[in-house]
């Protein structure tokens, strides 16, 4: 019998304590970010989709189309094309397509790049209703950006 | 302590194997390759015909020359935990697996996983049981080789109920039939799946 009352009292008390806690939070400021109206800056290491790094002088991509990223990609979502040009050492990048629909954002492409020509973009507002919008032409994106 | 105890207990399972095993081993002493298949082979001794076993061995001869499997010792083998991750490795013929599971259960082991390996070059399937102990670190691996065309092995799901799902999974992936299993239906694969994706000759 005493256990019954003890439980009753402690139980009721616990219920009021719970109400107290939620009541306290009711008057505290909200912690959420109102997303479409407010944005967060991504941290510098954020792994978004990849983008080409331009050469500081020429503004052209630093990529030499060696194809290491293509080879290292687990999902096979990168395709690189380059061509030999006279007077230029190595190959010149002609096409860099990232199929973002299959990309798993693992970052192995950036890691495998020996020429420091790839980095992660900090874009994260990527939404579209069409699949084609996620086949990125990175050279075009680079030009648009600059 | 536990390791020694379980090793001794498991060794008892090998007593009659050695006797049977010596005969074919002596006959084929010239052959340098005697894979763990030999462990499975005596299991079929009970069957009247020897021909499939022989044929299989001749098949695997060329293949296993490349594979270069070390000869399986008759009895549980202690392994280096640091490099391998387990302590005891016991290759057993399929019909001994239940007895081994009983021994392990008595010693308080729990089942970690059951899985298969497809040794297509040797036309064999291997079932691998991982056991571990809650109190003392001692991981025991029981493995058993089966004929790839007729992969059958008795279930241990009556000893370890947890094996039920692991066996179903192994059946899904390899088509290994666990005889006596209460409900050997596809678990992870669709209900009507008639393929076994982890077989090496499976192409999606």
């Amino acid at each position: 019998m005493s256990g019954y009352f003890k439980e009753l009292i402690s139980g009721t008390k616990s219920l009021f304590i719970g109400l107290g806690i939620t009541g306290k939070y009711f008057f505290e400021p909200v912690v959420t970010l109102q997303y479409p109206h407010e944005y967060l800056e991504m941290t510098p290491r954020y792994r978004g989709h990849i983008e080409l790094i331009p050469d500081e002088e020429t503004g052209e991509p630093k990529c030499v189309a060696c194809g290491m990223c293509e080879k290292g990609c687990p999902s096979g979502c990168i395709s690189v094309k380059g061509e030999k040009r006279k007077g230029v050492k190595g190959k010149v990048l002609t096409k860099y397509i990232l199929n973002f629909t299959t990309c798993s954002l693992c970052g192995q492409c950036v890691e495998s790049c020996k020429f420091d020509a790839l980095r992660f973009s900090l874009d994260y507002n990527l939404a579209s209703q069409r699949k084609e919008d996620f086949i990125y032409d990175l050279i075009k994106r680079l030009k648009e950006k600059s | 302590m536990l390791l020694a105890r379980i090793k001794e207990a498991l060794s008892s399972l090998y007593e009659d194997i050695q006797e049977i095993q010596e005969a074919p081993e002596a006959a084929e002493a010239a052959e340098e390759v005697e894979t763990a298949a030999a462990d499975a082979a005596p299991a079929e001794d009970a069957q009247p015909e020897e021909s499939p076993a022989e044929q299989k061995e001749s098949d695997s001869e060329e293949a296993s020359e490349e594979a270069e499997e070390p000869p399986a010792p008759p009895g549980p083998r202690e392994t280096d935990y640091k490099t391998k991750g387990y302590h005891l490795d016991a290759a057993l013929p399929p019909e001994k697996v239940v007895a081994a599971a009983e021994i392990l259960s008595q010693q308080g082991f729990f089942i970690e996983a059951i899985t298969g390996v497809d040794w297509i070059d040797e036309q064999q399937l291997e079932v691998v049981y991982d056991f571990n102990h809650f109190d003392e670190l001692c991981r025991v691996v029981i493995r058993s080789r089966l004929d790839r065309n007729e992969p059958e092995i008795p279930t241990i799901s009556h000893i370890y109920q947890g094996a039920n799902w692991h066996e179903r999974e192994t059946h899904d992936f390899f088509g290994i039939i666990f005889t006596g299993h209460p409900n050997l239906e596809p678990l992870l694969l669709p209900e009507d799946a008639d393929f076994h994706p982890l077989l090496k000759d499976f192409k999606a």
Binding site: - | K84, L187, P197
Partner: protein, 373 residues
């Protein structure tokens, strides 16, 4: 009269499909329940709705290319899976890991464990009908995700560990941020305690509900908090210390009762222990490289089979790999803890009421992609 019900009226029992789309199954698990009124006569989980055959993928791609897959199984404690996989290959290929990298691994994995437990805590109380603790737990969890994002670059599927080390080094802001977070969580845990743990309704719903005996846990191979809630002192971090866990002083919370409350308490206490580990690791964090001096390029483990287990948030995650000496796995078996933990659901729920069974299911902490793989 409606036919559907009339049909069942003639039977003593009826069958009910819990899932694959059901609020309590956290994903796409289906449980076939044979019910007698609200009592469960038989429960049979049906799996495989998001089965992706990771093991086959492991056989088809190089060791390194499988790394991103790890985070896609247990997405709530992705780093543990990452850790288990790289550790197995390090064992197989004999790769030495610099000490600093090991420390970083421990710190991030423990943070990840806390975040996983926090999410479980919220989702579990949500299963029991309390919505608000979920949001509070998310508030805390976001802090961890921010911290981990600043290091790994990702919030959920980290893919942070590499063979022989980690991908990025941690910086001072991470260290101070982590310390601040620990301080914050230490203040928040008593709040959770008062709001949820001590709440009489929750106690009534969990105490003595869904007991799992020691023997049952053993027969089903249950590990992690499920086993520890049944009085089994088994934690891979202590049992077969991998990485640098042997250098830290922490306890394994073990509760003897075996009921849902015990499993709940184990996880709540584990968060505290994880914080202890992180603090010690931050104090002891050595300087040095985060990758081996000789860069690991092509991994080709020696022929043979290897096993490595780590303690993921939900139990012992094991990787059994069979190598044939090439740069891809011959066989890659991933032993997921919840697969075993869930397998006892059928036996444990016999004769139980539906809401109790759901409380039990919640206390098992299911992550369906991990079960289905």
């Amino acid at each position: 009269m409606n036919g559907l019900l009339q049909q069942d009226l003639n039977q003593e029992t009826f069958t009910i499909n819990l899932g694959p789309q059901h609020p309590a199954t956290h994903g796409v698990l289906r449980v076939k329940l044979v019910m007698d009124g609200e009592y469960i006569v038989e429960a049979e989980p049906v799996l495989g709705y998001i089965h992706r055959m990771h093991e086959k993928m492991g056989e088809n791609r190089t060791w390194a290319k499988f790394l991103p897959n790890c985070g896609r199984m247990d997405y709530l404690c992705a780093l543990s899976y990452n850790h288990g996989y790289v550790a197995a290959i390090e064992r197989a290929a004999g790769i030495e890991v610099p000490e600093r990298a090991e420390y970083i691994r421990v710190i991030t994995v423990e943070l990840n464990r806390i975040s996983s437990h926090l999410l479980w805590f919220g989702a579990f109380v949500l299963d029991l009908g309390g919505f608000t603790p979920l949001l509070y737990a998310f508030d805390d969890r976001e802090q961890i995700l921010d911290l981990l994002e600043s290091v790994t670059g990702s919030r959920l599927t980290y893919c942070y560990f590499r063979f022989g080390g980690v991908y990025n080094d941690i910086d001072d802001s991470f260290i101070t941020g982590t310390r601040e977070f620990i301080k914050r969580l230490r203040e928040r845990l008593p709040m959770y305690d008062a709001l949820v743990t001590k709440n009489i309704i929750l106690i009534k719903r969990l105490k003595d509900i869904g007991p799992i005996s020691k023997d049952m846990a053993r027969r089903y191979g249950a590990t992690g908090p499920v086993a520890r809630g049944s009085g089994i002192n088994f934690d891979v971090r202590k049992h077969e210390p991998y990485s640098v866990y042997s250098e830290f002083d922490f306890d394994i919370p073990v509760y003897e009762e075996g009921d849902s409350m015990a499993r709940y308490m184990v996880r709540m206490k584990e968060m505290e222990q994880s914080m202890r580990i992180i603090e010690q690791a931050l104090d002891k964090l050595p300087e040095g490289d985060i990758q081996p001096k000789k860069a690991v390029k092509m991994v080709k483990p020696e022929k043979g089979d290897y096993y490595h287990a780590v303690e993921a948030a939900r139990g012992s995650f094991g990787v059994r790999l069979v190598s044939n000496g090439t740069n891809t796995a011959y066989r890659l078996k991933l032993r997921s803890p919840t697969y075993s933990n869930l397998s006892l659901f059928g036996e444990a729920t016999k004769g139980m009421l539906l809401p109790d069974a759901l409380a039990l299911m919640g206390s098992l902490d299911l992550v369906i992609p991990e079960i289905d793989r």
